[in-house]
């Protein structure tokens, strides 16, 4: 994902009169959850706008889902408490996995209405089964009202994959998402929300080509997570090799000078 272009797309959704990001190009909807996830991204790229959001549309608001991306497990509303058959939804499984990781839990019992014990490993197993179940490269969601495959679910899966060190899987997922980044026009930089299989495109023409604030923000977050994972690993490996090399050189120099 071209982060710069994606951030520019978000900037284009900014409406000064509302002090908020609109849902999508051409729509006059301003949602707190969209603005919350956009604020996570923009706190790095445009903190002035985030200040405006926090004193306006986000005043006193914490999103019960996206707060998890900031490490906030207190306000996060666990999905098994909301929807007993949550394991059918890739995004809910992914978010619950991220919750377990953030809260330092290996697993837990479901609530009384859905009394199934689950672990991080089980949840990753479910996501693995959903990935490519119907269309290679896309993650299924049987509960979707449309037979479409959302980019934001791929991004959540990518974030989960990084938690379990599946770097190449995360890269593969984000590469798929990148194919949906709009290259030109008023929505340039935005990420189309869904993949609609060719045989269904005539059925749901309105789904094609739409980008929105939430999906684009999440794609930026996933790409940044992959970048920082690679950087962190690269630095650790590099420092380790450098430290060993420095020690070896020091010893070699000493040994040579002794001879």
């Amino acid at each position: 994902v071209d982060i710069k272009a994606a951030v520019n797309y978000l900037e284009g959704l900014w409406t000064p009169e509302q002090g908020a990001f609109r849902e999508a190009y051409g729509l006059n909807h301003y949602w707190q959850n969209d603005n919350y996830i956009a604020s996570i991204v923009m706190s790095k790229y445009d903190p002035a706008k985030v200040q405006i959001q926090r004193s306006g549309i986000l005043s006193g608001y914490t999103d019960i889902r996206w707060c998890l991306l900031t490490g906030d497990t207190i306000h996060f509303k666990q999905t098994p408490l909301i929807l007993p058959d949550w394991m059918r939804y890739a995004d809910l499984v992914g978010l619950q996995f991220l919750y377990l990781c953030s809260a330092g839990l290996q697993g837990q019992d479901g609530p009384p209405g859905a009394p199934t014990f689950y672990t991080r490993e089980t949840l990753m197993g479910i996501l693995g089964k959903m990935y490519g179940l119907e269309y290679p490269g896309y993650i299924t969601d049987i509960a979707s009202p449309f037979e479409a495959y959302t980019m934001y679910k791929l991004c959540i899966y990518a974030l989960c994959a990084l938690k379990f060190n599946y770097e190449s899987l995360a890269e593969e997922l984000i590469n798929t998402v990148t194919q949906f980044q709009i290259q030109s026009g008023p929505q340039a930089g935005g990420i189309k929300t869904e993949y609609v299989p060719p045989d269904l495109q005539s059925k749901y023409p309105g789904l094609l080509g739409l980008a929105n604030c939430e999906t684009t923000s999440l794609c930026i977050i996933a790409q940044e997570a992959l970048n920082s994972y690679k950087l962190k690993n690269g630095l650790m490996t590099g420092f380790g090799l450098a430290a060993a090399g420095a020690g070896a050189i020091s010893l070699a120099v000493k040994w040579r000078s002794q001879r």
Partner: protein
Amino acid sequence: MTSFPQGATLDVVIQGTGFSDTSIVYFSPNGVSVVRLGIVDNALEVTISVQNNAPVGSYELTIVTAGQVQTLASAISVNNPGSQFRLPVELNASPLIIPLNPGPTYDSSDVYLYRMFALPLIMTLSFQCNGQSTVEVYDADNQRFLLGPQISISNNTTFAIQWDGSGAFEPRVWKNGAVTGISVAYSIPADQAIPSVKSQFNPAPYFLAGGLVLGTILGLTSIRSKRGH
């Protein structure tokens, strides 16, 4: 009629014509509110929020578009998730004992199984019964019967039911019958089982720790040998 648990926030799609993003959508009685509304392919896509204390039961939907009012009685229902048992078949060992859960109409109210993926499965459903009872299997999501409606049994009875895996598999036992237990057996094909995916080994921290240790040892050895001379 789709049923939503108290406290849920969910997206629903309302099919129809003539909707616009200025349509006004509400449910009555109070307890279910629309928090987001959009148009996708002429359908209304709304996010509804069910209050924690929303009354259990059915709700009427009203849509106002350009002054025209449309209503749909019993559009959705709200349930108390605390009285439900929803079990994913993939994560529960077979045979599975289904708890009896007395309700106003059924002795096995709101107890159902679901599949994470809509893949077919043969369900061998057994009722332990020592007298007359009326049983059925209902799929509320698709509003269809997978067994029945209203099959009479008079002793222990087993049914083999072909289920396409979509929706819900809810064995129902009508009240005042003689069923004392319900169990269901199934065999998930190996390629549909949920694997346990373990975290992958990441060598980078070990490179760092090993490099620092090795570098320190070599460095110290170098210093010590220097002092020795």
